[in-house]
Amino acid sequence: MKRIFGWGRRLGAVLSDNRGGPWGSGGGGDDGSGDGGGPRNPWGPRRKAPGQRPEGGPNPFDEFLKKSRARIGTGFPRDGRPYWVYGLIAFLAIWILFTSVHRIGPQERGVVTFMGKYSGTMQPGIGFSWPSPVGGVTKLDVEEIQTITIPGTGENLILTGDQNVINLAYSVRWNIKSPELYLFQIANPDSTIREVAESSMRAVVARVSLDDALGAGRSEIEQRVEQNMQRLLDDYGAGVQIQGVAINASAPPEAVNQAFLDVSAAQQQAQSFMNGARAYALQQTARAQGEAAAFEKVYAEYRAAPDVTRRRMYYETMERILSRVDTTIVEAPGVTPYLALPEVQRRQQAAPQAAEGAPQ
């Protein structure tokens, strides 16, 4: 406030009259309260705060201060008790109210201490304790299931029993079993649970093979980690209940994932080989059955009239064949027939050409 006044006045000095140089010897801007011999700027006095003591008589605020000081000095209002006693009583009443009445939610338990010593656990509802600092209540949420997820981000590589590496992501759910143990037994319960989880998971995975950890053995790993953790935390007396361990993802490390994908590709391929073979097998057997059935039918006919059937089949077949091929019959026994094979070949080739070349 005073600074502003000083500035205002100094500015005024500079503006109105430059007597005594730019930093006004008479302006007295530094102390701000002095009137000095410098020229007054027109709005300087108007800016004065009510608190600023004017040269003339005391202002009402001053008077009030004086009066109240006098009142405290004598300390006795009309009924004979000082005001501060009421103040103190009110303060104490509020203090006691706030530190000795506790509302415990349905999820919570209150750990009560008397003189620092554990004296009981408060159940949900309204509870009373000694006021602070004699008594104390710490509320803890015992129903809420907390979840720790490991790892936060990135890969979490773990060595398996067969000296392979696996990338595991899992979560641990827990809640407070015994609030007083949780509060008094371990320095950092939350980080302890996390460390115990990591160490248990690694100890368990170190005893199974990579294939188990990737697939079939996962639920067993979860169970064993859960038991392991519970045993350890009970040994510490942590007052924590492990509700469950869940492996969210188990995969080979990024660097070797391609090789693992190749294995499943090979499995698919093997399946497709087998599928092809099965299709062939069905075809073959069906064909054999069909042919056998056809033969049996014909054979039944044949047995009824062997000679005629045989002839008929012979002629029918020959007819079908000879009607579709060029046939040459060589007569005249005793004459050596000239078999014009080249001629036959030429004729065969010419036939399609003629068909293409001439309209005839």
Partner: protein
């Protein structure tokens, strides 16, 4: 006297002095702390000392009295605390390197001893840290890498805990538990070679799966062929002579008739028959 009592500032001063006196005479010992009462730097007695198997509510916690101004209380945590060993490389007997993280949990069970030998809790943890590291290196250095991934691990941890406990006792601490948090192959060559091994193992597996698939496929085909042959034999064996005729008819038909084109429906096959051919028996006019 009454005048001074009535004077508010004097009253305030007296109240403050009284508070200081009360605060330096009584102290509330919480469940989580132990206290060493020290008179001129010399430990006098212990408040709320840890006893194994004690129940909360029956501990030494509560109100404690001391001679004001002459005696001070040094507070020491009563809870189980953790000391962590940072990532360290450990060499196993088979010259494999491992990157190991470990932690130990301890509790100060003898506050007096701890106060005399280490003064502060921080010192205890600073003293234990390197010892945990060396105990771990010693123990792991005596075993092959594979032992770390086996049930033997529990035994190793017990050994480390015992070694650490011997030292911890000098500081009034007791080791509750030692665990290896992580044991990893170090980045670089060891990890890469492990990856390479995993990769080749998988390639081998993929190859064998493919070969197995092919083998199965072949077996399936062969079985089908055998079954078909059995079916054929069962039918045709009724009359081998007729089968010969029947099949030859089919065969002639299949092999002599080549598919003709639209222009030349007769195909490209030429057949030259001798008049003595059985087909032409009637053509010859013989009876």
């Amino acid at each position: 006297m009454t005048r001074t009592l009535r004077h508010p500032i004097a009253l305030g001063v007296i109240a403050i002095l009284l508070l200081i006196l009360v605060a330096s005479t009584f102290s509330i010992v919480p469940e989580t702390k132990q206290g060493v009462i020290v008179r001129f730097g010399e430990a006098q007695r212990i408040l709320n000392k840890y006893r194994p198997g004690e129940e909360f509510g029956r501990t030494g916690a509560g109100l404690a009295v001391r001679i004001p101004f002459l005696e001070q209380v040094v507070w020491i945590d009563k809870r189980i605390q953790s000391v962590e060993m940072e990532n360290q490389q450990v060499l196993s007997t088979d010259q494999l390197r491992l990157q190991v993280d470990a932690f130990a949990r301890y509790r100060i069970v003898d506050p007096l001893r701890m106060y005399i030998s280490a003064r502060t809790e921080e010192n205890v943890s600073n003293q234990l840290k390197p010892i945990l590291g060396s105990a771990l290196r010693n123990e792991l250095g005596r075993r092959p890498f594979a032992a770390l991934l086996s049930p033997e691990r529990g035994q190793m941890m017990d050994n480390i805990q015992n070694a650490l406990n011997r030292v911890a006792r000098q500081y009034g601490a007791e080791i509750v538990d030692v665990r290896i948090k992580r044991a990893d192959l170090p980045d670089g060559t060891p990890l890469d070679s492990a990856y390479e091994r995993m990769r080749t193992a998988r390639q081998q597996e993929a190859g064998s799966i493919r070969a197995q698939g092919q083998k199965q496929a072949q077996i399936i085909r062969a079985e089908a062929d055998a079954e078909a042959a059995a079916t054929y034999a069962g039918a045709f064996n009724q009359d081998p002579e007729f089968y010969d005729f029947y099949r030859s008819m089919q065969s002639y038909e299949a092999s002599f008739i080549s598919p003709g084109t639209a222009q030349n429906p007769r195909g490209r096959t030429s057949i030259i028959l001798s008049p003595s051919n059985d087909y032409l028996r009637q053509f010859r006019g013989n009876r």
